[in-house]
Amino acid sequence: MRYDSALAAVGNTPLVGLPRLSPSAQVRVWAKLEDRNPTGSTKDRPALHMIEQAEKNGRLTPGCTILEPTSGNTGISLAMAARLKGYRIVCVMPENTSEERRQLLAMWGAEIISSPAAGGSNTAVRIAKELATEHPDWVMLYQYGNADNAGAHYATTGPEILADLPSITHFVAGLGTTGTLMGVGRYLREHVPDVRIVAAEPRYDDVVYGLRNLDEGFVPELYDESVLTTRFSVGSEDAVTRTRELLAQEGIFAGVSTGAALHAALGVARKAERAGESADIVFIVADGGWKYLSTGVYTAATTEEAIATLQGQLWA
């Protein structure tokens, strides 16, 4: 495949079967390898689409500064596109995210403002909103409320999946900005009767949960519960266990949030198997494991040790 530039190479990612983790020939689980995007995550799609739409409608003009609250991937995608297109970019990021993410952002020229660990992404969003008020000339694309985030997945991810797997019955993805679930979910619902749209929400241990509780709950403006069929809450233990299974059994090296999506995918697979239904279940591999190597979850001798290394860290 040939493209005119790296930005043109966003999307068209592989969909691969998981022969060992699928419960049977009737109930199959498929991984959409979104780590095969130019900066290594699914966020290349919404980042590029949000920038291009903002350029089209005149919000983003040459010399502009882009501002975004992000725990990493969206910032990395925006920073790469901003560098190629000549924009300055400022990212607000929780202080307890991994060192790899900081280096990647800096590498593409992003300026980082750290937000306190307490409150996680919610605090980063609040601080970014305050900065946007102080600097009215900065352009906050704001992935949590920007319809072009979901729009990117409606226009590209959804059609790719349906073209590769017309027999799809379930779509599973992590619940963050909700952009992937809303965009792909709406597209599939228009084309596949009775398709099930399944959210996998990260659940942290009591320590991190307690920290997050200092803040108010935050519902992304994009979130529309009616798009979802059901929602799973996946704890750190299961997310780490599945991340390691995906690596050991299928050879796929994915980030920890992908383990959470796989856990939900295997949950609906088990239900289909019990009910005697056939199913083709697609889940999103949001990014590769590279940015999380320093956590030690991949190299720990046992899954128990891997889980212990992740205590108190934000993994999604």
Partner: protein, 98 residues
């Protein structure tokens, strides 16, 4: 019928600080009634007017029971039930690789 129930920190005063307890019942409602017999007071923290309390989330094998049958959701031997306090409004937390 043995169902494992994970108890959140704020409700462990009712379970002598145990993180996990066992219960039985063929629905969430029956399970909670069974828990009340050994952990008096817990039922009122979970249920209000015959429905799940608004700021309590209950998961059956990690799946939110509000998307299943709510308090009437059926249980099977070996199931795992997780009780969690909801953030304001039972909202998603918005914490992902974003």
């Amino acid at each position: 019928m043995a169902i494992e129930v994970r108890i959140p920190t704020i409700l462990r005063t009712y379970t002598a600080d145990q993180k996990k307890v066992e219960g039985s019942g063929d629905t969430i409602e029956a399970l909670f009634a069974d828990l009340e017999t050994r952990h008096p007071g817990i039922l009122d923290r979970l249920v209000d007017g015959g429905e799940l309390r608004r700021f309590i989330n209950v998961y059956l094998n990690d799946e939110d029971v509000r998307f299943l049958g709510g308090i009437k959701t059926s249980l099977t031997d070996g199931d795992s039930v997780t009780i969690l306090p909801a953030v304001a409004g039972g909202a998603p937390s918005g914490n992902d690789a974003v």
